[in-house]
Amino acid sequence: MTNAWTDIKNTDLVIVMGGNAAEAHPCGFKWVTEAKHHRGARLIVVDPRFNRTASVADVYAPIRPGSDIAFLMGAIRYCIENDKVQWDYVKNYTNATYLVNPEFGWADGLFNGYDEEKRDYDRTAWEYQLNEDGTVKTDPTLTDPRCVWNLLKEHVAAYTPEFVENICGTPRDRYLKICEMIGATSARDKVMTSLYALGWTQHSKGAQNIRGMAMLQLILGNVGLPGGGVNALRGHSNIQGLTDIGLLSNSLPGYMNLATEKETDYATYMSTRGNKPLVPGQTSYWQNTPKFMVSFLKAMWGSAATKENDWGFDWLPKLDVPYYDILRMFDMMSRGEVNLYFCQGFNPLLSFPNRAKVTEGLSKLKLLVTIDPLQTETAHFWENHGIYNEVDSAKIMTEVLQLPATCFAEDEGATVNSGRWLQWHWPGATPPGDAKHDTWILANIFLRVRELYRKEGGVCPDPILNLAWDYKDPYEPEPAELAQEMNGRALQTLYDPTDPTKVLVEAGKLLPNFGVMRDDGSTMAGCWIYAGSWTEDGNMMARRDNSDPGEIGTYLNWTFAWPANRRILYNRASCDLEGKPWDPARKLIEWNGERWAGFDVPDIAVTAKPETVMPFIMTPEGTARLFARKLMRDGPFPIHMEPFESPVENPFNAKLRGNPVARIFPHDLEQLGTSGDFPFVATSYRLTEHFHFWTKHSRVNAVLQPEFFVEISEELAAERGITKGGRVRVWSARGEVWAKAVVTKRIRPLICNGKPVHVVGIPLHWGFMGAARKGFGPNSLTPFVGDANIDTPEFKAFLVNIEPAAEEGASA
């Protein structure tokens, strides 16, 4: 989230699209209710299903799964055509006025530079026109046809209300009503917030869905303001934290990237990360990357990381492909190219697509280790559970170790909420049986491996032997020690660069913030964005002062938010060019003539003069990007693409299937179905009574929602002769499931290009372990393909067929 849960109360309009906050995030959704009741805010829900968020919406519109970009580009078109634009914001805080390379363009649903063989674009031309000094050419009058604004206008021209209605199946009157409501928030004193979740990410163009909304919010001037922003409602309690710390194939902590093998040494790696400002006077905060990188390497390898050995740069693995994401790993696994696999609090047998392929992969491992508080389906993948897990145990040669871990009630540490608050928690229960902390388990494994390398030698032992491990009890590092390691320390006394007599931080002391970090090895910090979370003043994440002086929901003394305890990102943009709030009634920070001050930590240098330093301090432009340059693989603007399995042809180019640059492995391509065999669109979703595959282990939740079902419309039920509560078989090109049919008015056929499209809703909470009845999940059916930029699997739009089935136990 750019903002926080408690900030939603400041909004005038909430749009929930790509999520279902009332059911998946009920206590956060309370702040929507608060805004409705106390501010008169209104709520828009756009979703294939009339869910519980929709049931309290002012306007609900159905949409065909996988067509969100058409809707969003249509909304941008509406705003431009009807002058619903926050012009001062757009002209000054976005790249609307920048000129783009003349070779950039698009035709037939593709941008220039497409290579069908490689399934990739040559993105060279997706750039600005530069002056001789390397700065960007601009046209403040917005008349040059090559300025971003005019290109955007041209790009969205195709997304007429007719187009949107035909592609999305959204009735035109409701679509236009929503556009009108959205457009009204272009006023300086009106703000909209966007709440989304996996309904937007789990598509082969998920990142572009989110960009579409981000662009719309920028055009309306709604980013950086209280009650505004683009807000990802994250799924797990610490999915934000693990992303921050970089537990992803190609990540380093604090949103830095692992090097590729083309970056042969530290200097080469840094050479493309200079981040020289593209517009004079801009902050371009990533210029500090060397400080964060060296501090991270010092946290990893302590005194063994020296300038002479590039701070241990070579000890990090180097990528030969963009990343070894879960799809790639399970594809490799299915071909016998992976031997060992660890699942720590993760249940891939139910959460990764094409379950048959997942089972095949796990069956080819030599050793699978699960570290989990629960007995997961993954740990038991080799066990036969009839139709619910039809395997032949004797043929599966994988050795499995199931290690019992503690859960939240038994451990201590911080988890990071959607609003980036790091909240510390304490243990209050003795672990059951022989369950142990993950930290103890990992330390024991690591120390044994290290000992084997010490005794026996072996291949590349240095990164293991040199790993910093100076914990009081090496077998059980304490949460406080680990948190402080992430916050960082001064390894030598740090002096003020402008006044060498002044000591900033004494040697050995915890760092007060990331501003004092150095690239000369005199500081260490595991995760630079967490600097300030545990300082010499104590554990800032444990703070519990819930006062809110500005009554604007920032709660600055409640726990700690990264970065720098800032609660609303880009908050400089909540003020006009002169530094006054766009809406005086919604004041967050302002320029007082000398400095920025207010109820949040300013997201800009406190003495940075208005009118020179622009609010988007992380970009070399200082502005936000309506045109994404070459930073996304599938285009600098979002373009409508169909899901890989779709009953509708791509209207721009009937030959295109799915995202033209998304990676798909040959065997998975063969396993895609067509609407001839699989006429119905399926989508996965969550229920309010369940959390993923965890709560089926909880008796109360198992009673509340005991049994797997699929949800269909009355029309589809009639068409297929399916009765309410009857058993059905649902199948795709990859697998089949049996379920109880829930026949409702919540899902209605959508009319796309004049033809009805039926939607089958498939909730995801059942398996064969736990207290609930055995059942299936959508992943038995879903395709093995992901988003073109990050490879999040396409769970939200795929094709199935459905028919009535005999009751369980009866012969088929």
């Binding site: 009920p26 693995p317 879960i326 720590q344 499995v400």
Partner: protein, 199 residues
């Protein structure tokens, strides 16, 4: 950690001993003290209160856990109740149908409670000691890493990667667990490394 007079400690003070002197000190008169003397003690007065955060979604509601026994004092603690933390700015005491049933998750019958091993081709688990499990894992890591680790690519560039091993990390775990996991997994040279954010 609970230095302020919380709602609970107020009730504990008011209900537990029912000593007139204590009540007097709190400003109660004799009549109130007499009433308090025969009121049944509040159920949670003998429990230890611990502040925690819901483990499910990222709203991260504040929760209060009540246990018999004080873990911080080195005692065995049995969780008997969980409720929303009224002081928490986000949830202000409320919990959803998932959070309200958190205790049943903690005490689920299908928690993993001892290390177990499944041999190749077997259809049952065998118990295994932590020591034996760790030795087996360490041996497997060492042998496979030594065999399949790639120090240099075809161009002779140092790449130090190990792709026959993968690790999925838990986005339900703490930052501190995440950081220790990061250090351990990366130092081995593992690239097949993700958490639920990928999905």
């Amino acid at each position: 950690m609970n230095i302020d007079l919380s709602r609970r400690s107020f009730l504990r003070l008011a209900g537990a001993g029912a000593a007139a002197t204590t009540l007097g000190a709190m400003g109660f008169g004799a009549a109130e003290a007499a009433t308090a003397a025969h009121v049944r003690a509040f159920k949670l007065t003998s429990t230890t209160e611990t502040r925690n955060v819901c483990t499910y979604c990222s709203v991260a509601c504040g929760i209060l856990m009540y246990s018999r026994g004080d873990l911080a004092a080195g005692e065995k603690a049995e969780l008997i109740h969980i409720e929303g933390d009224a002081d928490h700015p986000t949830n202000r005491g409320t919990l959803c149908p998932k959070g309200a049933a958190l205790k049943d998750f903690v005490k689920s019958e299908t928690r993993a409670t001892k290390p177990r091993h499944r041999a190749p081709g077997a259809d049952t688990w065998q118990d295994i000691s932590w020591e034996d499990a760790f030795d087996k894992i360490a041996r497997a890591i060492k042998d496979d890493r030594d065999k399949n680790f790639i120090e240099k690519n075809a161009a002779g560039v140092t790449v130090n990667r190990w792709t026959t091993m993968g690790f999925l990390a838990a986005s339900g775990g703490t930052n501190e667990t995440g950081w220790l996991t990061y250090k351990t997994v990366r130092s081995l040279g593992v690239l097949g490394f993700d958490n639920q954010a990928r999905v």
